[in-house]
């Protein structure tokens, strides 16, 4: 169980998070939606324990997050960040093995190799296992990082999976596959929290959607409860139609076309 109790956070004068509370049960897959600058990544940092909230508390399995040691936390939660630049040309399998670092002192055990292999197969990167990370495309690199973060908590159900835009840069097949993996992790009783930009992906895969705006939690509920033209307009300031797919009963969001008003003054070079 992940419990967020009334957290606020600010940098200088700017209040980035205001009075946010919610809790997530093991087995739930939650998507966080919101426009740029709504505070999604900041919230994820609070959940990861990377930054401490100014007031309020975050607890995991009934224990305050800041009472965990770094290593204990590494066994209980994993984070996939947005920007993943690796400074040296490590091999893909070496990067994925880094996910196992919290579990061994000097040399990986047979179990670690096995988990690395399984995680690479699940994310479809085993074909590049012996390639250098920088030679991969952006989407492939993201899948390697996903494999690494999954390997970190692979055999630890109840663990917290924090994913900041996990499908960024991936083609549509891997977007679907990545979310399918995350959902299967949720089915194994992991707690999955994922920042997404694509409302349709969220509608398809999430059990629950939290919509954020200006540092506040705006809506919180199942996709059917929270995805409607009104909420979409409030959160993203776009007009959209929301349909229900008759066969899956999932919401489909179709934004209205925006006509770009050409400036009257000609562009000069």
């Amino acid at each position: 169980m992940l419990t967020i109790n009334n957290i606020t956070y600010s940098v200088g004068q700017a209040k980035l998070l205001k009075d946010i509370s919610f809790s997530i049960k093991p087995g739930e897959m939650v998507a966080i939606l919101g426009a740029n600058g709504a505070g999604k990544s900041t919230l994820l940092k609070m959940l990861a324990g990377t930054d401490q909230p100014e007031s309020g508390s975050v607890s995991l399995h009934g224990r305050l997050l800041n009472s965990y040691t770094q290593l204990e936390l590494a066994h209980q939660r994993t984070v996939l960040t947005q920007q993943n630049v690796v400074s040296l040309p490590f091999l893909v399998k070496e990067i994925v093995m880094m996910g196992r670092y919290p579990h061994f002192q000097h040399s990986p055990a047979a179990k670690d190799f096995h988990i690395v292999q399984t995680a690479m197969e699940a994310t479809g990167v085993q074909a590049f296992a012996d390639r250098q990370y920088p030679t991969l495309s952006g989407g492939e690199q993201q899948r390697v990082q996903l494999a690494r973060s999954l390997a970190q908590v692979w055999e630890q159900p109840n663990a917290l999976l924090l994913m900041d835009e996990p499908v960024a840069g991936m083609d549509i097949l891997y977007q679907q596959q990545t979310l399918a993996i995350l959902r299967s992790m949720a089915q194994k009783k992991f707690i999955v929290v994922s920042v997404l930009h694509d409302m349709n992906l969220a509608s398809q895969y999430a059990d629950r959607i939290i919509m954020m705006k200006r540092g506040r939690k705006w809506y919180d509920g199942t996709p059917a409860e929270v995805l409607n033209p009104k909420s979409v307009y409030e959160i993203f300031e776009i007009k959209a139609d929301v349909f229900t797919n008759p066969s899956t009963l999932k919401q489909i969001i179709m934004p209205h076309e925006i006509v770009f008003e050409q400036s009257k003054t000609p562009l000069t070079h």
């Binding site: 590494a74 400074s87 091999l91 990067i95 880094m98 919290p102 000097h106 970190q152």
Partner: protein
């Protein structure tokens, strides 16, 4: 294992190059005799007739010089590899980013203050004081550069290199200032010291340097795993359960200990810290668990060879060893710059 084999090959090469190096000089001594003399000294083999002159040359002059080359080479190689891991960049050469200059400044300041603090640096205590002072200077500079170049939790390469230029200039200016304020005797000490070569090697300098190099060489490899995680980014390393600040402190402390002591005894030898880990990574891959210890061995080997070249290229004149390492190292630095040009432009 292929990687284990590399350590054995490097050790054998060091032994061979060492014996060869000891035999070279104004009085050439054949490698076979060097080997026999070594065994004789160790009591393994008894030589019927020991050439006393050769015995003195080898054990009083050339052996300390060889050991100094090994220690300084290992220090520069291993600390280069470790500093690059912390700064997340293969261009973070301790000489270029001002760490060595910080050490030099502190050492010169100690010589400059000699009269006030203690009399005569020729004793063993003086060497230790110099080495320790240079360690402190190098350590402070490393922390300073790290803080200056850090942006969003990651060291920025451009800032790091530019800060290095500034720190090098500043330390150079302060070093110059101290030399102008020094008395004649102090000036002689400073100048002798700043010439920076392996020529001043004695058993005293070697025993002084040994702990400053051996401790880091023994302890740094244990940070290899942590430095690998660092390559993902400071925040990501923290997510893996690593105590980021502890790793940083440990690695900077141990590597500046080696750099500082080395610089205080031989002056700045540039590009070693860049060249050696670069070659190791080409052969062994980038896993720091191997790069760090192998850089110590290859560093030792490289400096023995550079010393041989510096003594023989235009013999009997001895070239400063820094000339040789820069001749090889600077082109490698340029090569990495050109290779990573695209990556660096938006770093």
């Amino acid at each position: 294992m292929r990687k284990g084999l590399i350590y054995i090959i490097l050790s054998i090469c060091i032994l061979i190059a060492g014996i060869f190096s000891v035999g070279l000089g104004a009085v050439p001594i054949p490698a076979g005799e060097v080997f026999q003399l070594m065994l004789h000294k160790l009591g393994i083999y008894h030589m019927a007739q020991v050439n006393e002159q050769h015995n003195v040359i080898i054990f009083i002059v050339r052996f300390p010089r060889l050991l100094l080359a090994i220690l300084v080479g290992a220090a520069l190689g291993i600390s280069g590899a470790a500093i690059q891991g912390i700064f997340r960049n293969p261009l973070a050469e301790p000489g270029l980013i001002g760490i060595s200059a910080g050490g030099t400044l502190m050492a010169v300041a100690i010589i400059g203050l000699e009269g006030a603090l203690l009399t005569g640096l020729s004793n063993i205590f003086g060497y230790y004081l110099l080495a320790f002072g240079a360690f402190v200077g190098a350590g402070i500079t490393a922390l300073l550069i790290y803080q200056i170049s850090k942006h969003n939790g990651k060291p920025n390469v451009a800032t790091m290199l530019l800060a290095g230029i500034a720190i090098n200039a500043l330390a150079g200016a302060l070093t110059g200032l101290i030399t102008y304020l020094s008395s004649e005797q102090q000036l002689r000490n400073i100048t002798f010291w700043m010439l920076g070569s392996l020529g001043g090697a004695t058993w005293q300098t070697v025993t002084c340097l040994a702990p400053f190099v051996l401790i880091p060489v023994l302890l740094l490899p244990a940070s290899g795993k942590a430095l690998n995680a660092f390559a993902l980014g400071e925040m990501q390393a923290g997510h893996l359960g690593l105590d980021v600040n502890k790793t940083k402190r440990r690695v900077i402390l141990l590597s500046t200990m080696a750099i500082g002591a080395a610089v205080s005894l031989t002056g700045i030898i540039n590009f070693m810290g860049l060249l050696v880990p670069h070659i190791v990574r080409l052969v062994l891959g980038v896993d720091n668990k191997h790069v760090i210890p192998a850089s110590a061995l290859l560093g030792a080997l490289t400096l023995i060879v550079a010393d041989i070249i510096s003594r023989t290229l235009i013999a009997p004149i001895e070239l400063p060893i820094g000339v040789i390492t820069a001749l090889i190292g600077a082109p490698v630095f340029l090569y990495i710059l050109i290779r990573d040009k695209r990556k660096l432009s938006f770093a």
